[in-house]
Amino acid sequence: MMFDIDIRKQLTSGARHFTLQVRFRSACPRVVILGPSGAGKSLTLKAIAGLMQPDSGHIRIGQRTLYDSQQRIHLAPQQRHVAYVFQDYALFPHLTVRQNIGFGLTRGWRNPSRDIHDDNVEHWLQVLHLQGLANQLPEALSGGQRQRVALARALATSPQALLLDEPFAALDPALRQETRLELARLQQRLEIPILLITHDPEDADVFGDQILRLENGALIRQDTRGVGS
């Protein structure tokens, strides 16, 4: 089982109540959660990454338990080894592309230096075609380039799963289709499970082995295609 997720979370904001209840198991390496904005998609990803603690339930990826309310397990985000690509990428604006990619590889209180030479960083610069941009700051990059930096930064830490929040939303249509296919190829090569959330049915069609529909905090239908198709 790649993903074994069971999350319950009650949120109250003023007079509004929102209940998130997401429960699914999947053996597929490419899972897509599809739903309109406000359905609780990002909340689900945040819970898996450890940035939000559910009220109860469990979160398991592969053999590892990241959260289990009954066993009182709640790993810190730092210990989950799960990579997260935010919708607007969250690149560090004061660091170059190379420093951004090396960020998670550097421990301690100091950032990697501008001329950091790390095989891992060089590898991801090359895989995602970023060599020419290595010394640029994020503000100088286009949307598609930023996304590749965010992806490289996430993958450089050798995560055990990759969470993607609306990864294609900010790209123009031509680039979108190309990026979907590229990401699918990358997933097959790396063999790490990917959980992607999107509002766009086309993303789900192209990318997802398993498609889950989320509305108002609850899963309403599951479509599964053959594993690996």
Partner: protein, 228 residues
């Protein structure tokens, strides 16, 4: 001229120490109030901002009550450590710290609040410790606002008069800072000395202003990147 020189050195020493202490106090409390949620947070913020609106003589009086020889803290310090703050240059530092603290704390809090939480979350997911995130993400991005506050605080500490006079007095060569010395000179009818002191103070202030100009936004952000 000798006494003018020593007065200037004393003023710079007092303002320098006060700014250095406020660097830690201001960043610490600014970060705490920007990043934690608890009841009474805004009340604490208001209390810490009081020195901006209170007359310095009132602050000086409070300080006398607390750290004076008969004050609860002053008596305790004297009894256990033999430390006396009243009529010492350290007392002048204390007065300058209190008076200039909000000028560091306020911009620091605002600068920390302006840092995008998502960047810190990204750092966590990438496996970097909370301290690492503070020094590698939060502080570099907030540094510009903090530095502006520190410069203001240094200038304010240099010009501090009321609280300093009440706590440290006006002992030439020991606690008499530039502002206090100017007042004393004018009171004593020593126009020559007063002119000299005013000239020195003006030069220092203009130098500070030029320094602040050199650290203007563009340059500061460049430096932050280099440090990072």
């Amino acid at each position: 001229m000798d006494s003018t020189w020593s007065t200037l050195v004393l003023s710079l020493k007092v303002a320098g120490w006060a700014t250095a202490i406020n660097l830690f106090l201001g960043i610490g409390t600014g970060f705490l109030l920007a990043r934690t949620r608890f009841r009474g947070r805004e009340i604490i913020d208001s209390l810490l901002t009081l020195p901006i609106v209170m007359p310095p003589t009132v602050l000086g009086y409070y300080l006398l009550v607390v750290v004076g020889r008969n004050g609860w803290l002053g008596a305790w310090l004297h009894e256990h450590f033999g430390i006396q703050l009243i009529f010492t240059w350290q007392g002048a530092v204390l007065a300058a710290v209190i008076v200039s603290f909000p000028l560091v704390f306020k911009p620091a809090r605002a600068a920390f609040e302006a840092v995008d939480h998502q960047l810190e979350q990204a750092g966590r997911v990438l496996g970097v410790s909370e301290w690492g995130i503070f020094f590698r993400v939060t502080l570099p991005l907030a540094w510009r606002g903090i530095l502006a506050g520190l410069l203001l605080a240094f200038a304010r500490a240099m010009g501090e008069f009321g609280a300093t006079l009440m706590v440290a007095g006006s002992i030439p060569g020991e606690t008499q800072t530039l502002s206090v010395a100017i007042y004393e000179a004018v009171q004593a009818g020593q126009d020559g000395t007063a002119n000299q002191l005013v000239l020195v103070t003006s030069i220092v202030c203009i130098a500070l202003l030029l320094l602040a100009g050199r650290l203007a936004p563009g340059r500061i952000s460049h430096q932050t990147q280099e440090q990072a």
